[in-house]
């Protein structure tokens, strides 16, 4: 069967998968399908999707529902709280897992388990206190051979605000770690780097517009 010939048949396959061909058209198409395994495979592929279409509610084909913007902050705060707590927090809806659910969860997790609990992460999470209302700044610093990698999270500055980041060493020296612009209404993360090793870094400073905020960089990862 030539590809061009099949093309004509193919365009009927959707209507066929959805049961909308007239008797005559259907008979002709089925005769073609008898002798064309490619078209049969294509029909199978369409039919597997067509059979799921009744599950969907066409009222929901409009814009996808979005979580409220505040949920992002709540998730990050919940993770940060758990990290600071150092041990597993009791979850709020904390219904004890029944044996069956636990088994399902264990089976699903087992698919991904290759390593056990690793060593504490060497990164440092830094929180900036005393910020004006509406402004959020935090940073995560990671040690590297070249020095430190810095992930700056900023939210709530006027769009377009120039932000400049500095690291201050324990010896009092200060090195610029780069700059970025805060663009969006939502939180954004900028990735920067500095020649300072994490171990010799005492504080991180960020100048947002014309205001400078400083936060100490702790000595231990989970201090």
């Amino acid at each position: 069967m030539t590809a061009e010939r099949c093309r004509e048949w193919r365009e009927s396959l959707g209507a066929h998968a959805l049961g909308r061909l007239s008797g005559e058209e259907r008979a002709a198409l089925e005769a073609h399908l008898e002798g064309c395994s490619d078209c049969r495979a294509e029909l199978d592929s369409l039919a597997s999707v067509a059979k799921l279409m009744p599950l969907a509610d066409p009222e929901r084909f409009g814009a996808a529902p979005q979580p409220p913007a505040a949920l992002a902050d709540r998730v990050v705060a919940a993770v940060a709280a758990e990290r600071r707590g150092g041990r597993r927090r009791r979850i709020r809806f904390g219904l004890a897992l029944s044996g069956a659910t636990a088994a399902v969860a264990a089976a699903l997790l087992a698919i991904f388990v290759f390593t056990g609990d690793g060593d504490p992460s060497p990164e440092r999470h830094v929180v900036f206190g005393s910020l004006p209302p509406g402004l959020e700044i935090s940073a995560t610093l990671e040690p590297h051979a070249f020095g430190s990698e810095i992930h700056m999270y900023v939210k709530g500055a006027p769009p377009g605000t120039l932000c400049r980041v500095f690291l201050r060493g324990r010896n009092g020296a200060q090195l610029p770690a780069g700059s970025f612009r805060y663009r969006w209404g939502e939180g954004s993360v900028a990735v920067l780097s500095s020649a300072f090793d994490l171990s010799e870094t005492e504080a991180i400073a960020v100048r947002v517009g014309d205001r400078t905020f400083v936060a100490p960089v702790g000595g231990d990862a989970d201090a």
């Binding site: 959707g14 999707v49 799921l52 409009g62 996808a64 949920l71 993770v79 029944s98 699903l108 991904f112």
Partner: protein, 169 residues
């Protein structure tokens, strides 16, 4: 550097930015309540964070892993809700669809949102509204054969979109 797990807080932020919309969409579809859906998303990221170093990108995408966790969270939340009979009496009757069916339904709906407007339109008119191809063709000002071919390419696009969001049937 770990490849893609959630061992650091910034990983959580990045994963949230990439996947929270879909996770929330499915949670809302299966739980039928926006407050519960938010709780489910938050719990999913917390569990992912706790198990962050166990994620192995060679075994599946981060998205797939998060959906597997969310699925368990939804089951647990469903049980918690079943233990609170007052909810059903309060006039709010959350959806009770079986979970796997809810996932497929959400996948079809999400895929429908992703395909082109022309394709979505003919599938809605001819399939969901059951209208004759000729009538739809006239309304759109195109030959009937064009409607038929749009149904075909629309179904193909729907399949591709569903595969993108995890359908593997």
């Amino acid at each position: 550097m770990p490849a893609g797990g959630l061992s650091r807080e910034r990983d959580v932020r990045e994963a949230y930015a990439a996947h929270a919309g879909e996770l929330y969409g499915f949670a809302l579809r299966s739980l039928g309540d926006s407050g519960l859906a938010e709780e489910a998303v938050q719990e999913t990221f917390l569990r992912a964070w706790r198990a962050g170093d166990r994620f192995d990108p060679q075994l599946g995408s981060l998205r797939t892993w998060l959906f597997a966790i969310l699925r368990n969270v939804v089951i647990d939340l469903g049980r918690a809700r079943a233990a609170r009979p007052s909810l059903a009496e309060g006039g709010i009757e959350p959806s009770v669809e079986p979970l796997d069916e809810a996932l497929l339904a959400w996948q079809v709906e999400e895929a429908m949102r992703r395909i082109g407007e022309q394709h979505r339109r003919v599938l809605i008119e001819t399939y969901y509204r059951g209208r004759p191809y000729g009538e739809v063709a006239e309304e759109l000002g195109v030959p009937e054969g064009t409607v038929k071919s749009r149904v075909y390419y629309g179904l193909r696009a729907l399949r591709v979109a569903m595969e993108e969001i995890g359908y593997d049937g």
